[in-house]
Amino acid sequence: MRASLFITCYNDTLYPETGRAVVALLERLGVEVSFEPRQTCCGQMHANTGFRPEAFSQARRFVNLYREVEHVVIPSSSCVAMMREQYPTIFDELGDEILRREFLALIPRVYELSEFLVDRLQALDVGAYFPHRVAYHASCHGLRQLELGDRPYRLLAKVRGMELAPLANSDRCCGFGGTFSVKNAEVSSAMLTTKLEDVLATRAEYLTGLDNSCLMHLGGAMHRQYAGMTTIHMAQILAATADSPAEAMA
Amino acid sequence: MTVSSSSREAILAAIRMGTATTAKEAGWLHEAYQGLPRTYHHAGSLESEACLSLLVERLREYGAEIAETTPQALPDAIAAQLASTGKRRFAAPAALSSDWLAPGFEWHVDNDLPTDEIEHCEGVLTGAAAAIADSGTIVLHHGPQEGRRLLTLLPDIHVCVLLASQVVETLPEYFRQCIAPPELVTWISGPSATADIEMTRIKGVHGPRSLHVILVHDN
């Protein structure tokens, strides 16, 4: 089983430990992991802010780089959602029929991390050990566009030593929304405060999720407020074992 | 040509620029309409007794009084319900059977009654066209047994005689049983209500504040 890791532009720059955890996890599960060094970004930031033409070249680049691979694994629901929801229209508009067909052939082989683990590897127990109280944040893209459903919960349920605290109003948006977080910073912050009330009420040590984008927003506020909770991408929980615990965060 | 009719042409022309059909393509339209997906429930699943119980439950949920009776006992049931209101002045549509107009009450039969007189009635007695159990809805088509619309709007108490055979479980079943679309319909699913002040539900803003349903087991 081979998988090529699309790390995403922001994980590459800001959360390389998430990428390291994905590699460690997949290799432990017997997957041969490769990494295409020419990757950059999926184009979501541009497409969602109205800069559609700019997203075209990034979409094209993605297909050119990955057309031959067996699987692409992406530790970010929003990037996968971008490819499934918006790339079809982008490739229609680009007018390159060959590229469009290549995209359509590629997209079924593109997986968000929890989808790859549960659907493709059929691995629920990945041998993880993380003895902490944890709450899980379901990002909107994962929840509504990818319909991840109970995959993350089933994976977390098998993590030894871990206690999953239920989160109230779990389907309510945290307020990140990409450039919304700066274009409408005040409203984004109001939504963040509301979300944080429910998150902190879980009395968890860690807030986890499948998107570092939401976690960056929530974790950034936790840090600002000396909240006594921190964020960690689920890849890092799943990669953690007794011998190699998760890399220290903040 | 009036201003309005040239606007009519302008609007229809603008619509045509964005759509596929015109009035002339009626055949296509009908086919497209028939092909629309309708996989929702077209009928309920309850037996008639359970259906009637459901209706009674829903009516009670929104504070309606329900009395059950037989066709033979109907006039007595009506008299009892009217008496229970403690009121005397009742309006009624002209076509109501005279044995429904219980003695001991002041009847204002609607043979073109002035609005003022209806306004001063304390209640009204009518029949109904149908009822939908699922939502606790009483349906009036304002035929001769139900009276014109303001008759069931102005008085504060509505006593409504409903036959069990008029009750269906779901809304699609109601539409199925309409032989032709009625000219006038009022669907009543509770006393008037507002939640406009702090989302606190207050009943009886306009329209009757009390509903008494006499369910006649005619099956």
Binding site: H46, G50, R144, S181, E186 | G18, D134, L150
Partner: protein, 485 residues
């Protein structure tokens, strides 16, 4: 003819952009609490009823298909409606825009020598700013919905399309009624407040012979009109007056009477969390001996036919005005309706208002969303609001980026730069290295960035940012490969 504008904050031509308007309401704890309280209640009720309806998704599919079909054949259905309604005694007028609709209505009122009208709440009349126009032309308008009275007497703009006064609490209502109805002893018990409104309006219903209202549905097959309500003021206005004027957007039409079996199951559950609203009325033209002798329908275009031409945006017109989208919206929950600068707030407002304004105004609205998709999930007619938002963002950006002042907008510059960098891995990697160095300037001893300039400052308004790690993932990978050899 002059038109007064009492609520500039809801006029898209004059309203401040969303981020600015939102700031004002975010600092109003009472309004925020009232809004959150209201939407949470409706959402909870809706959720329970939807859970008990096992054909809910099928109903949504049918409703979406019927509405799309109507839009595809709108001209034909409108013509059919006109023929049937006219045959039943109604008079049908066509108005290309708000100004024409107002004029048509005023002409009818002049013919009737009406100096006062009673009115059922209709969003469409607010869209065309009918009330101030009539008032300034000597016609007194009496709103009859409780919320509308509260707003009219209190001179407040609406903030929700189904529960317009949800931002007002009971003591505020008490104060308004006491003052305007001359009832200084009035308590703030909602029951008593409502009774006061009932008495106040009764006299108007019984004496004013002209009414103006809207329509939830126009039925093409029969020429009928359906109005869905809770209070009963609709029934009063539809049956007591001598003359009734119904104002309806051209998109309100449904093909057949039977189609109501779908929409009447969806609307109340979506709008107020009830299986069925208290009163739904349907009438056909004029009926001898029952209700108005004269009935007019004013069909309003006002930009709808233009929206119809747009392939992605056309779905906006499927809307049945249930407000489920705003009840589910996490943004609306924080700001209420006033921040949207339009009579149509929330997610539907964010896509409808800019389109009705031909993107000349309200350009900030498509960005007033985190794209969470909750609205699409609850929309009974399956309008993919996020999809339309993205399309409108594209159009606004296309419009704006050609403007000189936008060229130096830091966000625009940042995005252009990012695109330039993403186009080449070497550029990207170089930028990452430079960024790492630059970020050190802002990184404090705890390894986090607490404050950034310019656009970055919007992030650090309320959030810290962890300092850039010493090694990117791809650098780590490259080193690992080297070490492995």
């Amino acid at each position: 003819m002059t038109t007064a504008q009492p609520h500039a904050e809801l006029d898209p031509r004059f309203a401040p952009p969303f981020p600015q308007a939102a700031l004002t309401v975010l600092r109003n704890p009472q309004l925020r609490r009232n809004v959150a309280h209201a939407v949470d209640i409706i959402q909870a009720k809706r959720g329970r009823l939807v859970a008990e309806k096992d054909d809910w998704q099928q109903l949504r599919s049918a409703a979406s298909a019927i509405r799309s079909h109507v839009l595809e054949s709108l001209g034909a259905y409108l013509e059919e409606f006109e023929v049937r309604c006219t045959a039943a005694g109604g008079i049908v007028h066509w108005a290309t825009d708000g100004e024409e609709a107002r004029r048509i209505i005023l002409d009818i009122l002049r013919q009737e020598q009406a100096s006062e009208v009673i009115k059922i709440k209709t969003m469409t009349s607010a869209e065309i700013q009918l009330n101030p126009f009539l008032e300034s032309n000597g016609v007194r308008v009496h709103e009859t919905d409780l919320a509308e009275i509260i707003l009219q007497l209190g001179e407040e703009p609406p903030s929700h399309i189904v529960v317009p006064a949800l931002h007002v609490n009971r003591s505020q209502v008490r104060e308004i009624f006491a003052r305007k109805m001359g009832l200084p002893e009035l308590s703030d018990d909602p029951q008593i407040l409502t009774a006061a409104a009932r008495r106040y309006l009764r006299e108007k219903f019984l004496t004013i012979p002209t009414a103006i209202g809207g329509a939830n549905y126009l039925i093409a097959e029969t020429g009928s009109v359906a109005v869905v309500e809770s209070e009963g003021n609709g029934r009063m206005c539809l049956t007591l007056p001598r003359t009734l004027i119904t104002l309806a957007g051209i998109e309100k039409v449904l093909p057949r009477f039977d189609d109501l079996e779908v929409f009447l199951q969806l609307l109340a559950r979506s709008a107020t969390g009830e299986r069925m609203n208290p009163y739904t009325s349907l009438w056909t033209g004029t009926v001898k001996g029952d209700g108005p002798e004269r009935f007019h329908v004013v069909l309003l275009d006002n930009g709808r036919s233009r929206i119809l031409r747009r392939p992605v945006e056309r779905q906006t017109l499927k809307c049945i005005r249930c407000a489920a989208c705003m009840n589910s919206c996490p943004v609306y929950r924080q700001t209420g309706g006033h921040a949207y600068g339009s009579v149509y707030p929330g997610p539907i407002g964010a896509i409808l208002t800019p389109q009705l304004q031909q993107l000349q105004h309200a350009q900030s609205l498509p960005f007033a969303s985190s794209l969470c998709g909750a609205c699409y999930e609850v929309c009974p007619v399956k309008i993919n609001i996020p999809e339309v938002l993205l399309e409108l963002r594209s159009q606004v950006t296309r419009q704006e980026r050609s403007q000189a002042r936008r060229f130096f907008d830091p966000l625009y510059l940042g995005l252009r730069l990012a695109n330039f960098l993403f186009a080449s891995p070497r550029r990207f990697h170089l930028a990452q290295r430079l960024g790492r160095i630059g970020a050190r300037l802002f990184t404090r001893k705890d390894g986090w960035i607490h404050s950034l300039p310019s656009v970055g400052g919007k992030w650090t308004l309320t959030r810290d940012l962890r300092g850039l790690p010493d090694e990117t993932f791809h650098e780590w990978w490259a080193n690992r490969k080297k070490e492995a050899r």
